[in-house]
């Protein structure tokens, strides 16, 4: 589709003479981050559409006589895919009908904003786990353990949430801090092992993920933790004073999303303005050079993993204190692994991670509506998310598919293709 738009640009042309418009159009089709991101999302949705079509028996039946009546098959496919994706959008950002009902007076504003609230609710923990992975990445560590750290954060925040019975505000603060500390401890283990023995953090964090999950599934069945009125694996409910405040009703969005924005700002400051941030970036760029310059690499690794773990623990805490309100073996869901994708999509930058988490939250919220209205399994969202990140991580692939021009500006920074 783009072969004609990539003529051999005359090299002699002076760049200063270019008008803004021609510079803009030239850069639009070059392989910059924005273009690659947009095209990755587009590609993922195209592949998702193909999956929807091939898994629908009725539409496939019409493809059987495609040569005789191609219009039937194509319109049926279009119908199926457009319903699914429009439900996805409505579930993520809001249904125009709900808005017009609100303006007519036949609906409430809560109903109109419920989809946005869902998006923010799903995004909040992902911001934290995404920041955890992104921060560790900048220091040269691949924190696959965000899942385990989030699980332990859930455990400590949850137990603190129902065990102490402290007064309002204080109880919430204690529970959140407990979540951060729990995650920090779980992150510190691979950090100190890497620093002291050189054990690869990818392997240790993967193993700690499953250890944490097994620990949680054991803990919720123990006396004192398990809900005494239930026989299944669920803990006592979090005290109301330890729950993150929310609007209530259909608006599930809670304080967690504001904390997430604050955490993003905090991480951005830590990374770009603090001396520790400088050290960790130096270690991430070249640990040998950093060591020569007098930075303690071991200390940086241990501290960095503890901070990353603390962030993931906060993600777990928002999950259990903001939406789940009790511990179950699956309370953390997949937020740690999703955080990994979020960080990759956000290119390991704090604000980029925030936007990526919002996109993933929107996909998840929309996916729920797509499942209940259009009957398309929620698993499609997982496929979309994975595909988006695959394409983001392989910009050369996207470039090859769309025949993008190479960028003139080679940007340094967090490269994904790092060994």
């Amino acid at each position: 589709m783009s072969t004609e738009t990539t003529p051999e640009a005359p090299a002699k042309k002076d760049e200063a003479e270019e008008s803004f418009l021609s510079a803009f159009t030239r850069n639009l089709w070059a392989a910059n981050t924005v273009t690659v991101t947009a095209l990755s999302i587009l590609l993922a949705f195209v592949i998702g559409a193909i999956l929807i079509i091939v898994s629908d028996a009725e539409v496939l039946a019409q493809f059987a006589y495609f040569t005789a009546r191609p219009a039937d098959a194509l319109s049926a496919s279009w119908q199926l895919v457009s319903t699914a994706y429009s439900d996805l959008l409505k579930g993520a950002f809001g249904d125009p009908e709900a808005f017009s009902a609100w303006f007519n007076g036949s609906g409430t504003w809560q109903d109109a904003f419920a989809p946005l609230s869902e998006t923010l609710t799903y995004a909040a923990p992902l911001v934290f786990t995404g920041l955890s992975v992104a921060l560790a990445f900048r220091g040269g560590l691949f924190n696959i353990g965000a899942q385990g750290q989030a699980v332990i954060g859930c455990v400590t925040a949850g137990v603190a949430g129902f065990a102490f019975g402290l007064p309002i505000v204080l109880n919430l603060v204690v529970a959140i801090v407990a979540g951060a500390l729990g995650g920090a401890l779980w992150g510190f283990i691979p950090g100190i092992l890497k620093a002291r023995t050189g054990a690869h953090e990818v392997i240790t964090t993967i193993m700690l993920n499953y250890t944490a999950a097994l620990f949680l599934s054991w803990l919720v069945l123990q006396k004192g933790v398990q809900d005494p009125n239930r026989t299944d694996a669920i803990s006592k409910a979090i005290d109301e004073s330890a729950q993150l405040p929310s609007f209530g009703g259909v608006l599930r969005v809670h304080l967690g999303i504001l904390l997430a924005v604050a955490a993003t700002a905090g991480v951005a400051w830590l990374l770009n303005r603090s001396s520790f941030g400088f050290e960790l970036r130096a270690v991430g760029a070249n640990q040998h050079a950093a060591r020569t310059a007098g930075i303690s690499v071991a200390k940086t690794y241990a501290l960095l993993m503890a901070i990353a773990g603390g962030l993931a623990g906060l993600g777990g805490a928002t999950q259990v204190l903001g939406t789940a309100y009790a511990l179950t073996p699956a309370v953390a869901g997949n937020i740690g692994f999703d955080g990994l994708l979020v960080a990759l999509l956000g290119r390991n930058k704090p604000w980029g991670t925030l936007w990526a988490a919002l996109l993933f939250g929107a996909l998840r919220a929309g996916g729920n509506r797509m499942q209940s209205y259009a009957g398309i399994s929620l698993e499609l969202v997982t496929v979309l998310q994975a595909l988006i990140v695959i394409f983001i991580a392989a910009p050369a692939l996207v470039k090859a598919i769309f025949r993008l021009r190479a960028t003139r500006l080679v940007r340094p920074g967090a490269s994904l293709a790092k060994g």
């Binding site: 691949f142 692994f337 990140v389």
Partner: protein, 422 residues
Amino acid sequence: MSTATVEETSVVVAPEPFWTRQRRLGLTLVLIGLLAAVLFGALAPSEQARFTLSDDAEGAALSINGQLGAVLFGILTIVAGGVLLAGLAKRRQTALLGLGILTFVLSFLCWQVAGKFMPLVDTTSGTMQLALPLILGALAGVLGERSGVVNVAIEGQFLMGAFAGALVGTMATSVWAGLISAAVGGLIIAAILAVLSIRYLVDQTVVGIVLNLFALGVTGFLYERLMQNDASAYNEPPRLPEWRIPGLADIPVLGPVLFDTNLLVWVALLLVVAIHFGLTRTRWGLRTRAVGEHPTAADTVGIRVRGLRYLNVLMGGLVAGIGGAYFTLVATGSFTKNMTAGAGFIALAALIFGRYTPFGALGAALFFGFAQKLATYLSAVGSPVPSQFLNMLPYLATIIAVAGLVGRVRAPAADGLPYVKS
């Protein structure tokens, strides 16, 4: 073993410190031996622990007083540790370590089984079956990692294999068609991994993790769209038949496990031998190891680095896909969402714990399979030891192994590094 590339062979000239690896190992064994002799011995009731040679409580049995056994085997662990600690028998270090762990496990078993019985045939065959996908998955990892490509997508290859096996096996009503398509399912994930990491130089761990999620999503999506609506058309594959070799199958305990079983057990064991032989004795193996350790040098002498990596990762995909077939065509007979539940990561653990060698992977997989089988046995007899903690064993053992607390594991030097021809 001629795994010179994995085990440290360089001789240290400087005087060794007193706390050598052997002494630390010995001390650890002495401590856990003490724990076993004192704690397990005190907790074990003074009743007979019967290990029957059959599937149930009947028939011939090895039996021992539980308390006596717990103390006795604990003392043996201490002895093994003591020999290591004293700095004796340096050449028999691995054997002594194995003996120490074995006697510790036996001491634990004497405590748990005292007053009850443990059917050995059931335990060993359960161990073999649980270890089966782990062996195949770990072998897939060996193939990739020895040539320098990290494969954390074993879980995804399992899932895709299990799904494809169930789907095609049902639609073709042939278990063999299912088995072949399971291998192809694993191959698809491996091909994506290979192209992205070798051709497009994406970080191999990143691709692996994302591919796991991709496989989880795709199989889950198609499961809900196709299989849940019409299980008889898409999700009732025939099971792999069990074959009995007359004569050999009558050997006590091991006979029924190895010679009255499904094809996959033989495939897995044969592959272990074949890959070990291939890696150590053939031109392909030498080249694979060269590419995994020093790709630039390999390239200089004319080995096609990327081509060999493609070949090995794709072969690994086939093996892991067959491992995935175990879940649908052997174990359960139908596919469910996320049915592998982390087995791919235990296989990864087995690969690392087995020091990236085929026989090491086999041993580690059997050990982890035994831990899982023991966990189900203990929860069945109502033991106070929580099954979750036994299930943690593979993960914790791997952390200890990579941290070098008990013998450092060293990955191939170029593992995870993309090769760019300069």
